[in-house]
């Protein structure tokens, strides 16, 4: 004979158990991380990875009862084909809830249709081509669009540096073309004129920049705006600039901060002095959050190592993911999860950042810096700041941007 008490106890047990099981299932969120762990982008992947891990280490308690399980996949080279396969497998085989990473724009571009179909949020930690966020409502970006730095640099070059003519050298792939368009728009809107546009090879290998820079030098512009992918390309650029004696010829080298990436800049030596860049982050930024960030970084990864903009993007991206997990209580449902990100604000080492509720792209400060030599070390001197910069491509609806 079943007493009421016995029935109640059984019911409670079932509810408690299923509640526990449901809760347990909702506790762990699987995040697929697609980064170029091997090949030419391996160092960049490492910086982003370290930034992500550092956030989890310092602020793991923000997750509360939830856990984040990182499943890492190698996107290998910048062509996008491997990234697409990785995303497809992460979704169908590993059944991830969120996708993140994406250093190269082709990787993100190729994966966009997959996340739309599967309704999985995709948090981009680098890929900078402006119109990427238009490709899918599931895409949000915490890193940058080429237009953040490009437009700002063009504006600054014409208005403050008083440059009248510019030559643009760019690596020939979507972010490069984007950077060119951004700079040109900003520069010419402020009264300058771009007199030559030079495509400079592919991102997969570092070319000999001599012929391209020679052509630029012969045009005698006031400034040479260069965009190349972060990493070894940037080093070669600085060296070639020095080797061809372009500074002496009166041509200033400017560009987005990709070319003065913190992990490479010291190898430039004296070739880098005087280089002016616009970017959302460099390790020398003077704000409390960054001081803490850099200190924690050096403690975790060695006194000789330094974070860079990739690292802070990994850090911010993980903060965004954690926010999403907590806001959605561990159950990531495509559209609702994306809503949780819209308008999200965060006090990042790079300064205050926000995810634009309409474009899902990042809004952040752009810092103008000039490289100078102090105590035998290259140091980014802050010479200006533009606050709360939006992606001007989407603002102006230029080209493919909507």
């Amino acid at each position: 004979m079943m007493s009421k008490k016995w029935l109640l106890a059984r019911a409670l047990a079932v509810v408690a158990f299923s509640g526990f099981a449901l809760g347990a299932a909702a506790q762990t969120v699987k995040v697929g991380v697609v980064l170029p762990y091997s090949g030419v982008g391996a160092e960049l992947a490492q910086q982003i990875d370290r930034g992500m891990q550092l956030y989890l280490k310092l602020h793991g308690d923000a997750l509360g009862p939830y856990k984040v399980d990182l499943i890492k996949r190698d996107s290998k080279n910048p062509s996008g084909a491997e990234a697409k396969i990785a995303v497809q497998e992460l979704i169908t085989q590993d059944k991830v809830d969120i996708l993140t990473g994406f250093v190269y724009s082709p990787d993100a571009i190729a994966s966009a249709p997959l996340v739309t179909e599967a309704k999985k949020p995709m948090i981009i930690m680098n890929a900078g081509t402006a119109w990427i966020t238009d490709l899918s409502p599931m895409i949000s970006r915490v890193s940058f669009s080429m237009w953040h730095a490009g437009f700002a640099m063009g504006d600054y070059a014409a208005k403050v540096m008083k440059a009248k003519t510019a030559v643009v050298g760019y690596t020939d792939y979507p972010p490069g073309k984007d950077s060119l368009a951004a700079f040109k728009r900003g520069f010419e809107a402020a009264g300058g004129k771009v007199i030559d546009e030079i495509p400079m090879g592919s991102p997969a290998k570092v070319p000999d920049f001599t012929p391209f820079f020679q052509r630029a030098k012969d045009k005698k512009p006031d400034v040479l705006f260069v965009f190349v992918p972060a990493g070894d390309h940037a080093l070669a650029v600085a060296k070639t600039y020095g080797a061809l004696g372009m500074r002496q010829a009166g041509i200033k080298l400017i560009g987005p901060g990709d070319i003065t990436q913190d992990i490479k800049v010291q190898s430039m030596g004296s070739d880098g002095v005087g280089l002016i860049t616009a970017h959302h982050y460099n390790a020398d930024l003077d704000n409390p959050a960054n001081h803490r960030f850099v200190a924690a970084w050096k403690q975790e990864y060695g006194a000789d190592s330094t974070p860079d903009f990739m690292a802070v993007q990994g850090y911010d991206g993980m903060a965004a993911i954690v926010h999403m997990v907590v806001a959605e209580k561990g159950k990531i449902d495509g559209d609702k999860a994306m809503d949780a990100l819209k308008g999200w604000k965060f006090d990042s080492p790079q300064g205050p950042i926000m995810i634009d509720p309409v474009t899902r792209d990042i809004v952040m400060n752009e810092y103008l810096s000039e490289l100078e030599m102090k105590n035998g070390r290259l140091y980014q001197k802050n010479i200006g700041v533009i606050k709360a910069v939006k992606d001007m491509c989407k603002e102006l609806k230029d080209g493919r941007c909507k």
Partner: protein, 287 residues
């Protein structure tokens, strides 16, 4: 467009191509062996040179000597152990073996050193620019041009004026005859292979700023080395020299005029050239 700058820039690339490829040309002409791993020797040499300067503070010129010696020694080992077994084998087996070897080289370097591009730390006397009177040009490039010219002269003298050189030329033209007059072709080849690989090592190191230096180097430039050798004519040092300069110059100019895919013209030119003269511009027919 400043013609002299273009000329010097093209000459620099060409010289690097020459220094790397001359060894390949002679060994391919001598033994008819398809050595697709030649670029791997260049890469390894480059790494030895760059790393001995970076990690052990070895000065520039001794580092180059070390690179040469290390790679030459390694190639002697490989030649005696493996290459010698495949001299009579089909192209397929030679291709297979050397591709396998190149993979081993690439992955070893990636594992031991890492995938990043290596930069050559130039000594102070090679930095900056040199004033030649009519133009100021990058000292490093001028040094490469000088080195290449010295090399071709030395090799030419060696081939034309020494006994050893005569033996090589004889073996390239007609191996059987050379053997029958008492030339020890096996030993000849080992020595030539060692020197050729050693030269490639120097080319790999010196050219680190021009062609870059990273684990993918051997496969990326394989086609260029083969083109230079095929167009120049197997076993012809002067042929390789002019072919390398031609290709280097063309490539440099095309990068300026047609940065997107301009190299296409080089391949088209090579196709045309080899179909018209399969033995190369300077090669001997039937060789």
């Amino acid at each position: 467009m400043d013609l002299i700058s273009i000329l010097l820039g093209g000459l620099t690339s060409g010289m690097v191509l020459f220094i790397v490829s001359v060894g390949l040309s002679v060994t391919m002409g001598l033994m008819g062996f398809v050595n697709l791993a030649h670029g791997g020797f260049a890469m390894l040499g480059g790494y030895v040179i760059v790393l001995s300067m970076d990690k052990w503070g070895v000065p520039f010129l001794p580092a180059i000597a070390i690179g040469f010696a290390a790679v030459a020694a390694m190639s002697i080992l490989l030649e005696r152990l493996f290459y010698a077994r495949l001299y009579r084998a089909t192209e397929l087996d030679q291709v297979l073996f050397t591709i396998g070897l190149v993979f081993v080289m690439i992955s070893s370097v990636t594992l031991v050193v890492g995938p990043e591009t290596q930069t050559l730390r130039l000594p102070d006397w090679l930095r900056g620019q040199t004033d030649l009177g009519f133009i100021k040009y990058r000292s490093y490039s001028l040094a490469i041009i000088a080195a290449g010219t010295a090399l071709v002269l030395a090799l030419w003298l060696g081939f034309e004026r020494t006994r050893f050189g005569a033996k090589i030329r004889a073996a390239v033209d007609n191996r059987r005859m050379a053997e029958s007059v008492g030339v020890d072709v096996g030993r000849l080849f080992t020595v030539t292979f060692a020197v050729g690989s050693g030269l490639a090592a120097i080319g790999g190191g010196l050219g680190a700023e021009i062609l870059g230096l990273d684990p993918q180097y051997p496969l990326r430039y394989l086609v260029y080395f083969l083109i230079v050798v095929a167009v120049g004519g197997l076993g012809r040092v002067t042929g390789v020299f002019f072919a390398a300069l031609l290709i280097g110059l063309l490539d440099f100019v095309l990068k300026i005029e047609f940065p997107k895919g301009g190299a296409l013209f080089i391949y088209a030119l090579t196709l045309g050239l080899l179909l018209w003269r399969p033995q190369g511009l300077f090669g001997r027919r039937g060789g």
